[in-house]
């Protein structure tokens, strides 16, 4: 399982987050990721290394190209960390109970 704290810390850097967001549409090479970002290729490589260590990104070789892609398990771990399922479900339960006017006389 990915290290959630490392993943969140990795996404705390705005440039690194921009690199990660560019992988949402599919696997990309370093050069493609660097295009349009105000940083060098080597800086992008460095950010990808940190994202990889955090379990958010993995790399594959396609022919001579090295492509980076979002690691679904890492992303799912971060998402799960924020879910707070019971907290939000009970909030919805409260809203529904309080919307029921048939019980409005008590308490």
């Amino acid at each position: 399982m990915a290290n959630v704290a490392a993943a969140i810390a990795a996404l705390g850097d705005p440039t690194r987050r921009a690199v990660f967001e560019r992988l949402r549409d599919g696997p990309r090479a370093v050069g493609e990721l660097a295009d349009g970002l105000p940083v060098t290729r080597s800086a992008v490589s460095q950010h990808l290394r940190v994202l990889g260590e955090a379990g958010l990104v993995s790399q594959t070789r396609v022919g001579t190209r090295r492509l980076y892609r979002v690691e679904p398990d890492g992303l799912a771990a971060v998402r799960a960390y924020f879910d707070d399922l019971w907290g939000s479900a009970l909030g919805a339960m409260r809203d529904l109970a309080e919307a029921d006017e048939s019980d409005v006389e008590d308490p």
Binding site: M1, A80, D83, A89, L90, M93, L96, A97, D100
Partner: protein, 147 residues
């Protein structure tokens, strides 16, 4: 090995009777069934029927999520919890207390028994509660920003 239960509480400006009814009779209306159900978008209901918590799909399928083990309206309610899993004895436990207070009811939920999942316990538990997640994240963000 024991694991820390998930605790959640909410204040409802209604009587314990009304809060208990909403919790149990209308669970399908407040539980996020589309995103956290067995049938996803095809889900049409979640109800307590004959002592079982049952999800129904638009195609007529049913899935039992748990069995009621305590039914003491309007004070407390408890059921086993195993959404998406057969009744094979591997389940956690939901206990809900409805306590009257000065202007309504305090509803306290305890979700325990995660140790049954062994090494996966923490992974299973995580989505149900994010204790202090935001403070933790803000600390990490602050640290990242000061690098």
């Amino acid at each position: 090995m024991t694991t820390v239960p998930v605790l959640a509480a909410v204040h409802v400006r209604r009587s314990p009777e009304a809060a208990f009814r909403t919790f149990t009779e209308r669970i399908g209306d407040w539980w996020p069934l589309r995103t956290h159900g067995v049938y996803g978008e095809a889900a049409v209901g979640l109800d307590i029927v004959d002592g079982q918590l049952v999800e129904r799909s638009a195609h007529g399928e049913t899935s039992v999520w748990g069995e009621v083990v305590r039914w003491e309206p309007p004070h407390r309610f408890a059921c086993t919890w195993h959404p998406g899993r057969a009744q094979d004895g591997v389940h956690t436990l939901i206990e809900v207390e409805f306590q009257p207070d000065e202007d309504g009811t305090r509803v306290e939920l305890t979700h325990s028994g995660w140790e049954i999942y062994g090494d996966e316990a923490e992974q299973r538990r995580a989505p149900y509660q994010a204790p202090d997640a935001w403070n933790h994240v803000l600390g990490l963000f602050a640290r990242a920003g000061s690098d």
